[in-house]
Amino acid sequence: MSIQVNHLSKRYGTQWAVNDLSFEIPTGEIVGFLGPNGAGKSTTMKILTGYIPATSGDAVVCGFNLNTDSLAVRKRVGYLPEHNPLYLDMFVTEYLQFSAGMAGVSQVKSAVEKAIDLTQLSPERNKKIGQLSKGYRQRVGLAQALIHDPEVLILDEPTSGLDPNQVVEMRNVIKNLGKNKTVLLSTHIMQEVEAMCSRVILLNHGKIVANNTLEGLKQSAPNDSLETIFRNLTNSHVGSI
């Protein structure tokens, strides 16, 4: 198992952002984290990458417990946060070299070349990040996430704000990466999951309302489209706080 989550909860003030979450993701799977805004997707991802600790429960990523071995987990996880934060005044290669250094990569040069290659960044590699289009910025974000060749990629809304062509390109890049990495990506668009993922974990109000393969989900309501299934599941389960 790449990711094992046991009874994970996170409370902000009096509100439970994530409430008793348990799931497993086997190695080499692309899993879609689906749910409406505020469902707890980003919070879960922030916990899994070690940015914030959980209020209770624990998670094991690549065999290391996040509560006790956060550094070991961070070595093996690549993370693209929501809104793709970047240093706009840095050059693309400069930023990737910095990322490689921060990730503890020994062969910085070849790691940067590989990341540029995988994300097809080469036409824009000598520009400042601030000069890039949104699509290319997103690729830079993805490139920094996979600079240290992590076993697990955690991508928070990797395609949000992209135009339709860029969305398709981004999906292809991620699908390619998923051939030899475990990918957990979040989205609130059903088609996204259909296009990339083998399994979907549906969240609503901090709780899991469905954890199934796409086929399984379709079979559960053969007459409905995935979009309708999504809406039914997220409307009917109003969580208690």
Binding site: T49, L71, P81, P85, Y87, L88, M90, S99, M102
Partner: protein, 242 residues
């Protein structure tokens, strides 16, 4: 730590802040040293850098705060703090990298003033020379003072995602620890309390080192001061985990 250090230095040099800080510092100290009537080295006729060492602490309050104002607040504003802290690097390494980069830049800014020192050795009475001990003591004091300011600045920038707020908090705190506390020592009504408070001021220990005597108590004070503010910074930086 050095990865962060290198990145910070590059971003200083790329953002013009470094050049502005260096330029402003050298211009202002230069004006006070050589140009202001009645008070400059040539008019006073004393071969000493004291004029610069008296004015520099006040200029540095502004300049050091300007250097450190964005170091953590910008990461917060951009959201890059999330990437930074999810790398296999400890929070301490990130903060030390940023802190040392700021101190390094300040030391680099002070270097050109060695020309003043050289000029004075040439101008001084060949029989008496200039007070080397006091000069190097003052340089040492100035570096320690600036390093203390930098720890305040880093602390201020950890509190907010707004650079201007960070700048102002930092300047107020620096001025308090340098100026206000030492002024309290001069208030006669406060008597012993004022004198005790004065001991806590940066100015007290800066003046003490400036005399050219390295007193362990002063060094301990500065190291403790810096450690306290860096510790505070770490506490605030880690507060996301609470």
């Amino acid at each position: 730590m050095w990865v962060v250090f290198k990145k910070e230095i590059r971003s200083f040099l790329g953002s013009f802040i470094a050049y502005i800080v260096m330029g402003v510092f050298l211009i202002i100290t230069g004006i006070f040293m050589w140009l202001i009537q009645e008070n400059n080295v040539l008019d006073l006729g004393i071969a000493s850098l004291q004029v610069m060492f008296n004015i520099a602490p006040y200029i540095l309050i502004f300049l050091v705060s300007a250097i450190t104002m964005r170091s953590l607040s910008e990461e917060r504003r951009l959201g890059t703090i999330e990437i930074l802290t999810t790398r296999p690097v400890s929070d301490t390494d990130i903060l030390l990298g940023k802190y040392l980069a700021a101190v390094g830049l300040i030391v680099f800014t002070l270097l050109p003033t060695l020309f003043y020192y050289y000029t004075l050795t040439k101008l001084a009475d060949p029989l008496q020379g200039i007070d080397t001990g006091a000069t190097w003591g003052s340089y040492m004091g100035l570096v320690l003072l600036a390093a203390s300011y930098a720890s305040i600045g880093l602390f201020a920038s950890s509190r907010t995602d707004n650079q201007i707020v960070s700048l102002i908090i930092s300047m107020v705190l620096c001025f308090f620890w340098y100026g206000v506390l030492s002024l309290l020592g001069d208030v006669k009504a406060l008597e012993v309390i004022g004198k005790s408070l004065e001991w806590f001021s940066l100015d007290f220990h800066y003046q003490s080192i400036s005399r050219g005597v390295l007193d362990t108590r002063d060094i301990v004070y500065f190291v403790g001061f810096i450690a306290t503010f860096l510790g505070g910074t770490k506490l605030v930086f880690e507060s996301r985990k609470w």
